[in-house]
């Protein structure tokens, strides 16, 4: 009897220990709790900085552009590009997939190898160019309307870059209704068949927003809104050009493609370059035209 009690007690004690070690929330907390001393120091700096002068970004050495230059070139692919995924248009099929035509998400458009393998719809823009450096042809404040149309349930432009001050007129050339949503901007409207609506962006973005349609969820495209006009989207042959860039100063460019997102590893003029976060820098000489032959390995689109 006593022995039984003892073994029960032992089992109980062991059970308590096992339950205890398993029961509490022991997930690894991946984020870190703030450190009070560091927090107090930051708080003091925040409060002190409120009236402090903090405009010395360039550390005093003022660099000014000495003229303007052009950056142009071509994005080409090396290797065999992956196939674009086939979509399943499951509604309004008469409009969206007439005759049962297969529909693909054209997330990577490459010209045939014999014509050079150019990559279309690669976005390139100059980042953080001070307004006073911008040439008059690329000035902030452009208000020219840009047309953005959809037909057969396809956005006709997969990659659109505009200045955020430009109204984007979203058309619907289909006999069915669409509903166009621009990422997280809050724009989300029904576009009546044959009608249109205007999207006015509120600010500059560093990454494209996805444009989509809730009625036809397989539809998508990309839109970036920038402050100045220093951006380009490569054409069907992979060619791009940004004219009148400030010369004599170091500029940071960013490169993005919808399948690979940030374009990070490339070969430029035979030299391999690593573009961390899709960024690279160039300093150009006034009136120079910098030619960039950018080769991208097909593997980054897998």
């Amino acid at each position: 009897m006593i022995a039984q009690n003892r073994s029960t007690l032992t089992a109980l004690a062991a059970g308590i220990i096992v339950l205890h070690s398993a029961g509490c929330d022991r997930r690894v907390t991946v984020d870190s709790a703030p450190v009070p001393t560091a927090v107090a120091k930051l708080r003091a700096q925040l409060e002190a900085g409120a009236s402090g002068v903090v405009d010395g970004d360039d550390g005093g050495a003022l660099v000014e552009p000495t003229g303007f230059a052009t950056l142009r070139g071509r994005f080409t692919i090396q290797g065999t590009p992956p196939n674009n995924p086939q979509l399943k248009p499951n509604r309004d099929q008469q409009t969206c997939a007439p005759g049962g035509r297969p529909v693909f998400r054209e997330e990577l458009i490459v010209t045939p190898r014999e014509s050079g393998g150019g990559i279309a719809n690669v976005l390139l823009f100059a980042d953080r160019v001070p307004a006073e450096w911008v040439h008059e042809t690329a000035q902030p404040g452009n208000t020219d309307e840009v047309i953005f149309d959809q037909k057969q349930c396809i956005f006709l432009n997969r990659m659109t870059a505009i200045q955020y001050t430009q109204p984007l007129r979203i058309m619907n050339s289909d006999p069915v209704g669409h509903n166009t949503k621009v990422g997280t901007t809050g724009f989300d409207q029904t576009i009546p068949s044959g009608g249109s609506a205007v999207f006015q962006a509120q600010g500059s973005e560093n990454r494209p927003q996805e444009v989509s349609c809730a009625i036809h969820p397989w539809m998508n495209a990309w839109l970036i809104t920038r402050e100045n006009g220093y951006f380009a989207v490569s054409d069907q042959d992979g060619m791009f050009e940004i004219p009148y860039l400030p010369a004599g100063v170091e500029l940071t460019f960013r490169v993005w493609q919808e399948k690979s997102r940030n374009v990070q590893s490339v070969t430029v003029g035979g030299q391999s370059e690593s573009w961390s976060k899709g960024k690279f820098t160039r300093t150009m000489v006034p009136d120079e035209t910098v030619e960039m032959d950018v080769v991208i390995d097909a593997a980054i689109f897998e």
């Binding site: 900085g49 989300d188 997102r261």
Partner: protein
């Protein structure tokens, strides 16, 4: 089995001691949005370092304080004091209790945190069991409000949700709380919302702008980093501050004096509902049972779960605390249960502005020379939608043979 007494006693003692020290509740603290961190890491293919995360955590604590001791940063002409009252925050924050005068504190933890989480991330202990999931405040997006998509809600909008609850969901009415307690909770929700949004902004800043391993606020040269923090804070506070001016004014419905007028309005509403101008039918379905578009996701889910046919795993996000994705379903309009309120004015805002964070779009209003809905059209739609629960089809038990036949036909 024979176990010597000498072993049992120490074991028991150990168990008791372990119980006493081991499971003590941890101090409440704000949790970082590691799901969003992972999403950014995936986008840049560059992981955050521990030092970067700790730095972010310190910066956020310096600006916003802790769940037990919230703070607001007053900086020149704009700061959190523009939109919240620190006394209210203190009343809502902290552990549940009251002071010697009987004034309560810890209201948020008493009433809200079990669903919405201490951080306001919609990840309280009960969250996974609820459908719909509780709101995650950290994007600043709220569904039921008077302002357009993309705008923050007004104070009045948040109050309405607290007082009325959200019909058809687990969100109850808090109408029994005192007025000042409601005010305190509304302010605290704004505070958590701003804090969460700034956290996301700063995570994005680190991922998108900074060099690898670079700290957001370098302790040696803090100025640039702190300016960035203030820039985001100012922008977010402005959004909240301007919300009260952005509420969509609701015009009076067209006068309907006779039954004929009302029937005409219903007929016009039905026509719009099924037509390509308003497009309601595409999601709410031919039957209005909400079965037209059942494969979409809301804003909070789409962040980790895209609509791609080939779906990348979401296991990594679930492991970091994200709730399992669920499809967002269009409202079944035959029940007469409207989450955002059943008054005509509520329905007006839903139709006119859409529902933020969901696929429900805003109406495209008629412009000269352009297609679109008129104000009267919106009221016709509302009339039709409000009539749907009373159609025989909606009540097959009472509708007799006609309703059964109609259901079978559809």
């Amino acid at each position: 089995m024979h176990t010597p007494r000498s072993i049992i006693r120490p074991l028991l003692l150990l168990g008791v001691v372990a119980l006493l020290v081991g499971c003590r509740a941890e101090d409440a603290r704000f949790r970082m949005d590691m799901v969003y961190v992972r999403k950014q890491e995936n986008a840049t293919e560059i992981p955050f370092t521990r030092a970067q995360l700790l730095n972010l955590s310190n910066v956020l604590a310096a600006v916003f304080g802790t769940p037990d001791d919230p703070d607001i940063l007053i900086d020149g002409d704009i700061g959190l004091h523009e939109i919240v009252d620190l006394t209210n925050l203190k009343m809502a924050a902290g552990p549940v209790g009251s002071d010697e005068m009987g004034f309560p504190h810890g209201l948020y933890r008493e009433h809200c945190s079990h669903c919405h989480g201490v951080t306001g991330n919609g990840l309280g202990p009960t969250a996974a069991f609820l459908n719909p999931y509780p709101r995650d405040y950290r994007q600043g997006i709220y569904k039921f409000k008077s302002t357009p998509k993309g705008s923050r809600p007004t104070t009045e909008d948040l109050k309405t949700v607290l007082i009325n609850g959200v019909q058809g969901t687990a969100m109850p009415s808090f109408a029994l709380l005192a007025d000042d307690e409601i005010d305190a909770l509304v302010d605290y929700v704004k505070y958590l919302s701003v804090r969460g949004k700034i956290e996301r902004d700063l995570i994005f800043e680190v991922a998108d702008e900074l060099e690898e391993k670079e700290l957001l606020v370098d302790p040696e040269e803090p100025d640039d980093g702190l300016e960035t923090v203030k820039m985001y804070l100012t922008a977010e506070v402005r959004k909240w501050a301007s919300a009260s001016n952005e509420a969509t004014a609701v015009p009076a419905p067209p006068a309907s004096s006779s039954d004929e007028d009302r029937l005409d309005s219903l007929a016009r509403g039905r026509e719009l509902f099924h037509g390509t101008l308003a497009n309601c039918v595409k999601c709410h379905g031919e039957t209005a049972l909400g079965d037209g578009q059942t494969t979409d996701y809301d804003q909070w889910t789409i962040e980790i779960f895209t609509k791609e046919p080939q779906q990348p795993g979401i296991g990594e996000f679930v492991a970091l605390g994200a709730l399992k994705p669920r499809n967002i379903l269009p409202r079944n309009l035959r029940h007469g249960v409207y989450r955002g309120g059943r008054r005509p004015i509520d329905l007006y805002w839903r139709v006119r502005n859409g529902i933020d964070g969901t696929p429900m779009p805003a109406a495209t209003m008629k412009q000269p020379g352009q297609k679109g809905l008129t104000e009267a059209d919106i009221w016709h739609l509302i009339d039709y939608v409000r009539s749907l629960p009373y159609e025989p089809l909606s009540n097959p038990h009472y509708g007799g043979h006609e309703a059964v036949v109609e259901r079978q036909r559809l």
